[in-house]
Symmetry: C3
Subunit: 258 residues, 3 copies
């Protein structure tokens, strides 16, 4: 059975997500319907970079064969490409605007296809809702087992739109690390990954050193701490509180100890 | 496999939606469970008209045979009817309070049934949660293939409760068009449909003319525009911004050009 | 087909819930995937008591055999137990921090197991996301029909962590009843259950008597009323309005009439 994982900036107050699922199901004829899993629909409107980060944090926990339908698409209806990316284990469908930047950086891309609108969209179709009128029918065809070559044209992966990623600055004593994300709990997630951490270090936030712990529960209630979170990026947190509410977007430094 | 699409004002912070799905599944015995698709649960509390509009914007993208369970129900527990509507392709279940006004206006109603509480609700049942205690068991019986005549009584479709729909005012030079909806992106959706647009026209918002474009991406960032949206109603939008935040509920006019 | 019902404080803006579902599906091999039903993910962060109440209000409407994955877990990564509870009809999986207090109070517990991390978590795993790395794989094994004894150790139910429940105070003339919950509609749900109501009574809110009715629709718009809600607890409500917005957390008294 296929899994279709969805990631959009559509929110949940309107009918947009439901209609996309309806349209996928409508395109299946007698093929067994997929399991839909919502990653999130609360990407801030038009925030392609945030969509790319959330996709990076999510995709590898899904079963092989999962199709990811990802739509954060300020350029909907213009001539940005509508694409299908294939990796060893997964298929990604969405606009070519940088949303798949981290996938392209972290996975080997087996093939890229540009969807041919003429072959997929059925008139009358809208210029403002490609998730429903273009991407959903393409996903339905993939679920049915169609080869993307039938309705899309291969292009070289070097032509993918890639966003510049936030960079870590080196200083004399260590690193200044940018913020990747803030989660629902107010944890501030930095771009400093555990794998980049080959020396002993201290963490400073707005020039105050804070303790590094293994998990939230080892801190006192209300204490400001640093720890490696669920994706192994360093995060700034307050036990049972919101670091973001207290600090906003602070300056976060790694200071090498030796 | 059956699809059950849900539209309510229950929100997602409480257990209400989950419990309705649980109750449907509990009523199926060995019948194959449906696929649930949430249209939205964020209809503002008790806003029947808004529920009716969102249903209008959604239903036709779902596969034939879909059952729509729609509950925005300020009169729950009183003697408003609990109904089942059948059209050529779909079945609608919910309170008879105008929620199906646009379905009745746009589709041919094949049959209307009033659900017989005595035959569907199992005591003890609540007076405040018919979605769980009355509509969910009715939906389960429909999924199992039961004829509604077994637990509901047919009535003529002319007895359906219909809400008065917002009307477009004609003026000397054109039209004054009411607002139907505001979506998550702050796009202001009017009741002016592309099909009503047989002459060339300009759009004015609070007496300032704004350009009509084909899609958001053809405007400059921050520019106020008019375009036909995904349901072919004219909408007022700002590229990568919120027209509603800027304008609230402005006066929107169509001015004929010839 | 198995049902997995989820209740967390993860919210829906991040990828957390999606990833947990992905991880469950990844652990199934060729076993038929479950139906996921979200009870809610909007439990306020770390509010174990609220999670326990919402679970109480929900579980019995689900089909026999449902697995409840419940995670409100401020102690994640510390040495609080990760547990599986079995009742006659259901299985509950989550942290042992009081989240299952009302289940333990209302249902007969057949068996309690402490999950053995070594047998379930696959390195590398995080200390901050046990829902993904510990509970989800355990749920997958339960779906596959594994006996919990294979990866968990039985312990006596008397060792379960139980939260003290809010208590009703008796006075000379009646009761002072604490507030259990406030729902999306602003209805204030008290801990006074219909079964505790063996005499005629009046309800007072901040020392003003208010009428007791059968359902919202029998009140006038804007009128403050008391009624037994969908779980048979007395609630304070305003027809088509929010009692919570008007009153906050008022003092609610039951006054015996004879």
């Amino acid at each position: 059975m296929k899994v279709v994982a969805l990631l959009t900036d559509f929110g949940t107050k309107d009918h947009y997500v439901g209609v996309v699922k309806g349209r996928i199901l409508s395109g299946l004829a007698s093929t067994q319907p997929p399991i839909f899993v919502d990653i999130t629909h609360e990407i801030p409107p038009h925030d392609v970079r945030k969509g790319a980060i959330v996709l990076l944090f999510s995709f590898k926990y899904f079963p092989k064969g999962t199709i990811f339908l990802c739509v954060v698409d300020p350029g909907v209806g213009t001539n940005r490409k509508a694409i299908i990316l294939q990796t060893e284990d997964y298929t990604f469908v969405g606009p070519d605007n940088g949303l798949f930047s981290y996938i392209a950086k972290n996975e080997r891309i087996k093939a890229c296809f540009e969807i041919d609108r003429e072959k997929v969209m059925e008139p009358p179709f809208s210029s403002t809702f490609h998730a429903r009128d273009l991407f959903a029918p393409a996903v339905a065809r993939l679920i049915k087992g169609e080869d993307p070559k039938i309705f899309a044209k291969e292009f070289p992966s070097k032509d993918l739109t890639i966003l510049p990623l936030p960079t870590i600055k080196e200083t004399e004593k260590g690193l200044i690390v940018p913020i990747l994300d803030v989660d629902r709990f107010g944890n501030i997630i930095t771009s400093f990954h555990r794998s980049a951490c080959k020396r002993k270090f201290k963490v400073s936030v707005n020039d105050n050193e804070i303790p590094v712990v293994q998990t939230y529960g080892f801190a006192k209630k209300g204490e400001l701490i640093a720890l490696f979170g669920s994706e192994d990026f360093l995060e700034i947190a307050i036990r049972e509180g919101s670091a973001y509410e207290k600090l906003g977007s602070p300056e976060i430094k790694i200071i090498w100890e030796d």
